[in-house]
């Protein structure tokens, strides 16, 4: 996890979960970090602000939305995809 996008995402998640970025691994899930639904919404907001993208995340059905939040690696891949689509 050395690329810039991932680093920024890790920083956002770490900040929200109040842990050190070093504690976050690609396979870390947001549950592992104890982020509740409101915390997750804040993470999505911070990602949108950071990368100026619009994340298709629906808080009603977090696991069924188009945006994969299963772990940090999945979030990073999805964000890179959104950045690429933006052009």
């Amino acid at each position: 996890m050395t690329d810039e996008v991932t680093e920024k995402i890790v920083r956002i998640i770490a900040d929200q979960a109040m842990v050190e970025p070093g504690q976050i691994k690609p396979e870390t899930t947001l549950d592992d970090l104890g982020l509740d639904s409101l915390g997750l919404v804040e993470v999505v907001f911070s990602i949108e602000e950071e990368f100026d993208i619009s994340v298709p995340y629906n808080a009603n059905e977090p696991n069924d939305s188009e945006f994969d939040i299963s772990n940090v690696a999945a979030i990073s891949a999805a964000v890179k995809q959104l950045i690429a689509e933006k052009g």
Binding site: L38, V41, E42, V44, F45, E49
Partner: protein, 404 residues
């Protein structure tokens, strides 16, 4: 009939953070009004207000709380903590569902609304923070009070402009008296010293650019303030059983509507609210030892209110001290009634009648003892607190000193 007493009080106002600072300001006749320092004054003709001084939110709240707490919730929470601590009430499992929260707020999370209108309408920002809704909703202060103290009984928020605080306390009093709850956190909170609100008030052309001088012939309008006050009130027997210190008793509540004009008050209906509160408390005119006036320092309010008081109290009116503490903490709108209940509780429990500060010249149309500029020591056995709101909504509370 169940009796209802006050066992805890918390206040945050321009006179300071905490009940002691607030009382000290009232006793000294200290004016908490000054230049507004927290907002841009660009294109505003109103540049004064009554801000909570020396307030750093990070001293009182965690980062995750601040994400969810508008300033109005912060002030209410601080007042709630102080009130609960003073009362010594323990809201255990049995009491939780019997403890209500009733708060007044006219405008709710106005800082959140104002900042984000500016960002979106003004600056074209397309994305907003996810928690604006729970921050700005008017019931946020009441909900956070319930969460912090585990109060699981009835919980609601009253929005009746300048009468919100009195309506909230009065309804909580009714609820306990009628057996719907045994204890309540009640009061009001307002934190609307933001550009948009001040611009709107500017439009009404009722604002003073210099000071709030209620009942003074030289008055030139009202001044906006911010703050919160929370009272812990309880059914008398349970308060006595646990050995609580009783600050005063709430004995009566009167509420009426002018059904007339949206802004111009009606003397007859204000008088009716005062009379109803006194009748509810079985309080005679000669018993009233202090009135905390609505006293906004607009000519129409002050004369209408003075007329209503003279009308109800008759020849006794001239002998009753009547003060407007808005002269010091300004008009805190939805928190006004609650912050002014604090002044009444000070008079009842400490024997100090707060003055009407900034009083310069007697207005012969008033004809009352307005306690000009200097507090007065007196044993006050019974007191009234008036609130008369835009929309013609009148709410008057009647209190007595607790003597057993």
């Amino acid at each position: 009939m169940r009796r209802v007493v006050v066992t805890g009080l918390g206040v945050v106002s321009a006179l300071g953070i905490g009940r002691d600072r607030h009382f000290e300001g009232l006793r000294d006749g200290r004016v908490g009004i000054g230049p507004l320092t927290r907002i841009s004054l660009e294109n505003l003709s109103i540049t004064i207000g009554a801000q909570v001084p020396d307030y750093d939110e990070t001293e009182h709240f965690s980062r995750s709380q601040l994400t969810l707490y508008d300033r109005v919730t912060q002030l209410a929470t601080l007042a709630g903590r102080e009130a609960v601590a003073q009362s010594g009430i323990e809201i255990d499992e049995a009491l939780a569902t019997r403890t209500a929260v009733v708060m007044g707020s006219s405008l709710g999370g106005m800082t959140t609304i104002d900042n984000n209108y500016k960002l979106t309408y003004g600056e074209g920002k397309t994305r907003v923070h996810p928690f604006l809704v729970p921050r700005l909703m008017a019931n946020a202060p009441a909900s956070h009070l319930s969460m912090e103290h585990g109060a699981k009984g009835p919980n609601w928020t009253v929005s009746t402009a300048c009468s919100s605080g009195n309506h909230a306390i009065g309804q909580a009093f009714h609820l306990i008296r009628s057996g719907g709850a045994d204890a309540a956190l009640c009061g009001g909170a307002e934190a609307a010293l933001v550009w948009g609100t001040l611009k709107a008030w500017e439009g009404l052309r009722v604002m003073s650019k210099t000071a709030c001088r209620p009942f003074s012939k030289t008055r030139d309008g009202m001044v906006q303030g911010e703050g919160a006050a929370v009272l812990v009130i309880e059914e008398l027997e349970r308060a006595k059983a646990r050995g609580a210190t009783i600050l005063g008793e709430i004995c009566g509540f009167g509420m009426t509507s002018d059904a007339g004009d949206i802004v111009t008050p009606s003397q007859a209906d204000a008088a009716r609210a005062i009379r109803d509160a006194m009748a509810d408390a079985k309080m005679g005119a000669e018993e009233v030892g202090y009135i905390n006036a609505h006293g906004t320092a607009t000519t129409i309010n002050d004369r209408t209110e003075a007329g209503a008081i003279r009308n109800v109290l008759g020849e006794h009116a001239a002998r009753v001290p009547v003060s407007s503490t808005k002269s010091m903490h300004a008009h805190c709108i939805g928190a006004a009634g609650a912050i002014e209940a604090a002044a009444v509780l000070m008079a009842l429990s400490e024997g100090v009648i707060p003055p009407t500060a900034s009083h310069e010249e007697e207005d012969p149309e008033i004809g009352l003892d307005v306690v000009p500029n200097t507090a007065r020591e007196a044993t006050v056995h019974a007191a009234l607190s008036n609130s008369f709101a835009f929309g013609g909504l009148n709410a008057v509370l009647a209190f007595r000193r607790f003597t057993g």
